[in-house]
Symmetry: D2
Subunit: 297 residues, 4 copies
């Protein structure tokens, strides 16, 4: 299979279940909502070393938010529900409640289950209940004025680790291809890219050969361009000298598949991109498989 | 004391010791260095609820960095040295090593002590040593190419919790004053603002009166404009209806004092700003006291 | 009429016919499309002193553009059709053709009339025709590779000068209200804000009293907060000390009315905003009248 | 000559005299100063088709500006002094006076000659004189409050058309190299890049072969990668498939030479960049020659 002359490998991304909540952050302007969204989704690339995976899902113009102000919907994800609850409390409490002009609302109203996030205790008894549309919220007096927040956030069983590789003639073409993919996936509701700028420069394998005693993950030498010809099992195609991976978490398999499709198509518009592939563990680890040729149909 | 008609309270900020390391992040462009800096300093507003306090210290043009590429110097801070070391490993490993085109270098070369950050194990034996100028680094093969990094980061005993309050006629004037202060402090080397966009909307007091059993911190009702007239000890001045706090961490007391001075002066250029004050605990908790009238001399 | 406690004056914006074309700029990434959009819509606030009025209409994700790359739709406007044609040629030729990775497409395909913009001559005979979807384009060899462009741009008779005033307790609250309005109007397709950041700080009246010989426009003293009490006919309401104007150009009256409605609603979410009004000339100059109470229904 | 394995051609950039003024734009925040700077330097890539060449020279933190607020210094350039004066009036009047919270100051105080820019007439008699430090300014009542401005701007005989070419394996590597150069040149005071994002995608030759009657400039086919092998005089080196040009205007030859040096060095850090060259007319047209091997010494 080819798109714009780019070869699409006949392989699949292997992915995993993860619990996901969505928080709508509104603010006096798009800009302040963005700053809170960035802080609250920071240090959240991979649950291997971070307490959560998180990212901006999509921008909500004033016309679409509960309080008529500009906002960003973010996703926060963790394989364990209890840890997700903790992360919601800490990330909202430390990074959004503290941010100028923000308010927070549940972003998955039809979820079967909700996690309690009792921020009103910060009000020390001075808080009071208010309605925003038909949402029951708390108004907490703070130094800037009042912080408005819901206290229950829907949680769903989503999908972590959807992915694809952008392989190109050289590093900069691969990066430009990955960036185009990021631009496309930004537009897909229900899917996030938790890595910096949406892109992974250093895809890893599980465990380590040389430092197995203390390393849970290490470089995936089969996909390192500088090791081509030096490792026996290199999977770097001929003519490829730079590879980036996009890793996608989503509220469901459909969101992840859509993100993969739209991201790959965008990457294939960039000159110098040669091959699209994907990462898996032979189907042994993750219950979800996203076949490239199927998602691109 | 007055600046541009803004009253400067005769009070002081009370601050605390904290361990601080600086990481220089370079990348192929300013933009990619910025993305890595934002991810690695995210979820790091206050050690009350985050594993570190962190922020961008300053931008380094290509002319100033070890490898001639654009970069950002970030500070990562923790009251415990061992925790700081862990945070360096996790934040560099998860948020910078994974980011496109980045390299990392020690940003306090003359520190008396250095923390080991052994990232080369990620290379699983394929890594090799290289020199960047006279710095000893590791080159780790990854999917994009090679990641270059130093493995020792200077640590100094810095200062956490330098602060001042911007008090204004209304919320938006206070926010604009705070933003001008952020713009000024960005230019002060050795000082960071770890909160979202550099600004705290919800200054807190230690502990809680009503929910004392489980709340370590709660809203500082004395400084809440909406509680003026409702709490007996309100410290919100007449004519003030919006307050923001700037909290500064720095590599030393001088950097914090300079940041306070330049930040306050900038805030005082914004129309509607009425009073500058600062937060302290009566001098009982922190060994550092920054008197507003002295730093502004 | 009131929204969130903000008084909406019972008045109207008076507006004028203008010719409008829309150019779709695509690029390898959202970021490069944005840079070209900013350059090509710069120095284009008002036809009083600029050769065009221009601005970004809306962002187009890769999923929506003719070539599957991210893009921005811009509007370029001039009261005279011939001048609009000249401006299309110069702004595309100098500011988009020259910009990295861009391509340009007609953004009003169903317009009754089209303006020729013959950029292929730049190719000096080396250009060739190509199809992008079902659009007939030229591919022009340039130093980066090839520039792809359509050569006919639809033109419609639109509306210039839709407007409203955001009046607030002080300057910074007015500015924050205006900024929220900009965030909302960004989401309205078919309408632009041609002034810097979308906001006018210095609304003007036609002509001049003191310098009538050489000034076509001068400050609108009736709306200057610092002149309240000093000019006989001040229209600055009690309690208002800062005013910003939003001026809207659109492809038709409906787009302008929608932008006014959504912008006003967003401005009314910002604390400190007191009154919304609008500018007109007593109905003597412009054929379009947008009554605030009607557009807000 | 080589830098990081990149060949530096033994050639020179040929450049021209141009009149240059610098305007310091300050605002309530860096962000608003930036918006005014972008609008006022837009549609100003080349005097071939624009009324001026203009760009941001450097950012000025609050600590460095006349009024203690954040600012940007911009350069506005034109080969004719009278046209430069007109452009100063129109660009300041239409794009900065109209922008939120701005003020404007002369950025070349030691220039031998000054151009009058009499904006105070906009005040229609309500304006008054004020001092900002030791600068004599006008305060003009406007809707947001007051606009402060100087009315004389120093003009110097500078240099236009300093340039170099970034030639790379493919388009995206060339673009990344050019972007690194932009990041470096941003730090050089006295030099601007007037093209979109600082980069030229479509370098031109004087005149046209096929359309000589009406085209003043056309594509420089000798430097078009897609025409290699199709034109007799191709100057695209072997292995090069993408080229971008950086064109520099400066207040003097030293600023241009420094910008060329720092920009080239930064471009040479990007993988995939192969050759740096420069554009000239055989020395027949411009009095300035910047030899690459000399500026890089």
């Amino acid at each position: 299979m080819e798109i714009n002359g780019v070869r699409i490998d006949d392989t699949y991304a292997e992915a995993f279940p993860i619990f996901v909540s969505r928080v709508i952050i509104t603010a006096a302007s798009k800009r302040w909502a963005y700053k809170a969204a960035m802080e609250s989704t920071g240090f959240a690339t991979s649950c291997i070393g971070c307490a959560a995976e998180a990212g901006i899902d999509y921008y909500m113009p004033p016309q679409e938010t509960p309080d008529g102000r500009p906002g960003f919907a973010i996703l926060i994800c963790n394989p364990k529900k209890e840890k997700l609850k903790e992360q919601l409390i800490e990330r909202i409490g430390e990074c959004i409640l503290t941010a100028p002009t923000t308010a927070t609302f549940n972003g998955i109203t039809d979820a079967p289950e909700k996690l309690p996030v009792k921020l009103h205790f910060f009000g020390d008894g001075y808080e009071h209940q208010v309605k925003v549309g038909d949402r029951s919220c708390w108004a907490i007096p703070i130094m800037e004025g009042e912080y408005i927040t819901e206290e229950e956030y829907g949680v769903v069983k989503g999908v972590a680790g959807g992915n694809f590789f952008v392989m190109a003639e050289n590093q900069m073409a691969a990066l430009a291809g990955a960036e185009a993919a990021v631009d496309a996936i930004e537009h897909v509701r229900g899917a996030i890219l938790s890595f910096p700028g949406g892109i992974v420069a250093s895809g890893s394998k599980v465990g380590s050969k040389k430092y197995a005693k203390f390393m849970k993950a290490s470089t995936n030498e089969a996909y390192c361009p500088t090791l081509k010809g030096k490792v026996p099992d290199s999977k770097v195609p001929d003519g490829v000298n730079g590879i980036y991976e996009l890793v996608i978490d989503g509220v469901d398999a459909k969101a992840v598949a859509t993100a993969m499709r739209d991201g790959i198509r965008a990457a294939c518009t960039v000159p110098g991109v040669k091959v699209i592939s994907a990462g898996n563990y032979g189907g042994k680890l993750g219950p979800h498989q996203f076949k490239l040729h199927e998602v691109l149909k």
